[in-house]
Symmetry: C2
Subunit: 253 residues, 2 copies
């Protein structure tokens, strides 16, 4: 159940069996949350940290007039509100997009683990840094890329991140966001997202349909997207050959 979290943390930081055990203990129990529901609110002062184990969530900010900006998608293994451990209040909200399984960790428990396990602290700090790197990548995308390119880039990123936690299926990747959600993430209207997705499909780059997508031409897709996975800092321990996440079907374990 907690494998995605461990897989992800261990990629950036070597964890001893003792560290792993401490994490598993503190993660403890998990629960299921229905789709389309807020998990953390803007202005909140959470008393516990939430980790996504399965499903899809997003960080977002809502503007007074109803406009919504999705700041990032959260995949299995991601922390929803790690920042609240250090900062007083949340400055954005987090919501489920699909049915999700999450674990909660009381702040005081997590703080204790952090104080007694330096490598866990290191790993969590790196998590927050990786979040920032993802924001930077989105910023570059929204700021300087066309709608077509933005979509290409988003799907590259999601593919690599899903691979990272072993969530790739032979048929493709599960990504239960609506075209509306994607628009809100990329600063586009639903209508235009729809048209560009069709074009990407026609161009044989990838097909997104019914909350799953399959990539057809990884090389050309990354080129169009200007996708360089360096910002995801995959080079921890294990090896991702060059850029391609697809190519082989590396099964985990």
């Amino acid at each position: 159940m907690f494998t995605p979290v461990l897989m992800k943390l261990k990629r950036s930081t070597a964890l001893s069996p003792r560290d792993e055990l401490a994490l598993q203990q503190v993660l403890g129990r998990y629960k299921v949350i229905p789709a389309r529901q807020d998990v953390v609110w803007d202005g909140d002062r959470p008393a516990h940290a939430t980790v996504l184990l399965d499903g899809l969530m997003c960080r977002y900010t809502a503007m007074p007039d109803g406009r919504r900006q999705i700041l990032s998608f959260l995949l299995p293994g991601d922390f929803c509100d790690l920042s609240a451990l250090m900062e007083d209040r949340m400055d954005h909200a987090v919501a489920t997009l699909a049915t999700c399984t999450v674990a909660a960790v009381e702040h005081h428990a997590l703080e204790h683990v952090i104080d007694t396990h330096p490598s866990i602290r290191h790993a969590l700090w790196r998590e927050t840094l990786r979040d920032a790197a993802i924001y930077r990548a989105s910023l570059a995308s929204i700021g300087r890329r066309s709608a077509y390119e933005r979509l290409a880039h988003l799907f590259c990123e999601i593919a690599v991140r899903l691979d990272l936690v072993g969530m790739k299926r032979t048929e493709g990747y599960v990504f239960e966001a609506t075209q509306n959600d994607i628009g809100d993430a990329l600063g586009l209207s639903v209508v235009h997202v729809n048209r560009m997705l069709q074009q990407l499909r026609d161009d044989q780059l990838f097909t997104f349909r019914g909350s799953t997508f399959a990539i057809h031409d990884w090389g050309r897709l990354t080129e169009i997207a200007g996708f360089d996975p360096a910002y995801l800092h995959l080079d921890g321990h294990s090896s991702i050959p060059g850029i391609a996440p697809a190519a082989t079907s590396w099964d985990v374990d």
Copy 2:
């Protein structure tokens, strides 16, 4: 010389005199760097951290075809490359926009201070979180706001951040970015930035001219921008009365 750094860190975390001393010692010497020069490169593995003491810098990513996205502006007191302490390589570059004064800290020295001074570690972690919060705010701006609103928001943010480190002058704020830079930060063309700046001036909101700006109507500006400074987490110790950084000589009609 190091006051901006201390001012900023102390706002988020209480530092003992011992902590302050340790920081001052490790910051040590400083130097001046001319404008428009790269300080940290994309792909770099810096051996030291750089702190901006005076001037203006930016983080940016350059796309293969020459497009540039400025990810954030760095003001006095900001760290250029704190993330490199934990992560192997930089995934973006940092450059000066104006003549800058910087201090450099060897990584091993900084790591030692971090290990022996928990509150400094805390303060630095919070710094990286604040960076992330600024990215999120930009993301919302670029993704969902009009050019006019984006400019309003940017100048709100810069004003507050400059206030925070005591860099406000009676005539206004020094902000030595060109309209081109601003365009690259907001995902706009120079031409359009120029036109919108004129409109903001005509609307009596603020005037940006010759690398300085003055805000004329803070209330209306924040409203148009949808600016809520919560994401800057100002509520550490000292006081910024409500929202207004200004409240000075500026005539509101």
